[in-house]
Amino acid sequence: MTPNAPITLRSFLDSVGRIFAVFFRQGRRSRRTRFFFLFSFLPVAVSLVIKFNQIFSGKTGREGTYLFTNLIMLFYLQMIILILALFYGTSVCSEEVEGKTLPYLITRPVPRAAVVLGKYAAYTAVTTGMVTLGLLFSFLVLNLDRLFDPSLYGQLGRYLGVLILGLVAYGALFTFFGSTFKRSIFFGLLFSFGWENVIQYFPGSTQRLAIAHYLKSFLPAAPQGRFSFLTFRLEATPPGLALLMLFVIAAVALAAACLVFSIKEYKLED
């Protein structure tokens, strides 16, 4: 690097890539990842229980797609991706401050914003991997009898896309929380299981203030059934607009997180 070299987009992206490589590797191997990997496989266990019950009781019950959409998907959408995004997103900045490892990163030739974006991308990739595997296994278990139906895999792709979008948007928001608040997990929990869980069921345009609203807008309209009360008030936003909104939320949250991380002087407490 030349003295006082201006940061070009290419050099910035290089820095993001280097941070990503380091923390993706670290993130995959961490004890936290092993724990959350098991956690994200809870729906697989539920699916196995349902399937064994169907096989051994001889009752077919609800078909696999129905159970998947109304039980497993909601489990992922309303709990697992929120928890994963919360713990990984807030840790992007706060683990460096709480672990007092921040000086190792900010005294390297990488912009601070690249640290945020690189770690965010790495942790989003790690959580995406966990969710993808869990969702895939749950889906296959519940649809064992229809594995050769190609239309099923279109649905699976759609569901997976929704969850990844959820991880992207929630992860970005919680990255901002982690860069800004000292008790970011607490505020994240309030947001996840307070705000999101309530606002998304409000009628009219109020429900558009929840990220979950945009995610659910991609899902097929819920058929009337046992679990339909969870989604029956959804006034879906068109998919194109929902996608745009999710990207805007993620971009604004990440830009704010980068700004805060770049200017804030964190106190490394003993």
Partner: protein, 308 residues
Amino acid sequence: MTAVIATSKLSKWYGNVLGLSDVSLEIEPGVTGLLGPNGAGKSTFLKLITGQIKPSIGTVRIFDQKVQANQSIFSRIGYCPEHDSFYEEMSGWMFLTSLLKLHGFSPEETRARAEEALDIVELSTDKDRLIRAYSRGMRQRLKFAQAIAHDPEVIILDEPMSGLDPLGKRKLIRLIKTYKERGKTVIVSSHVLPEIEALTRTIILIHQGKIFAKGDIHYIRDLIESHPHMVSVRCPDPRRLAGQLLQEEYVLKVHFGPDGRSLLVETNNRDKFFALLLSLLVGNRTEVEEITSPDDNLQAVFDYLIGK
């Protein structure tokens, strides 16, 4: 010699608390010791010159470049933080190679540099162990390794010898001195005078956020020599001992303790006083329970120097 690091009117406040005040100095290649008691502002100064925090007033320049928001300068600086903090789930090897990758080295160069740095700090055989299994001394050496692995021109070490055993300290001192011979600029902070004294003659004295003095270490040695020392002695017959001590001109005052078994002696020549005390104790076969020097620390010296 050209200054590598130059600060001008550098000041830092943390809210209403003064961290550093009006520091203007130039640091040249070689080893410079930053000496001051705990809370003097050493770490604040080091964080300011490494761009970790922004000055409230003033400027820092390294190689005549500004440090703030100038990432390119960090390939020329190695920083060893004071905290005993690591990515505990990494091995020493992974820690070092990860940080080297952030400099943009190729995989081959990263491996070569990491191997060299681990070899220098004698951690090669333990490189694959998790950092959380390292001893305190190994952790200190690893922290030093990450500061030198990218071969920086400026090496900034914040309390690098804390937690090291005497042998470890001696090795590190020898190692730091080799960087001086290679023309590097090394700043070492410490609150322990003998550590700095073993490293360099060039020191900066810092106290209460202000640079108290900058120059040769003999300057502070002279100041310390002229500093009246307090020595406390506990023995069964302090009155007899006091009578003998007061016959010497370098024994300024004697105070008796409330328990009647101790005395506090003030002297302006510590070496002569201890020689006398030893000869009296041996000659009189006096039993001594305890000899302590309540002000034998840097804080006391600084308090004396600033006229407290």
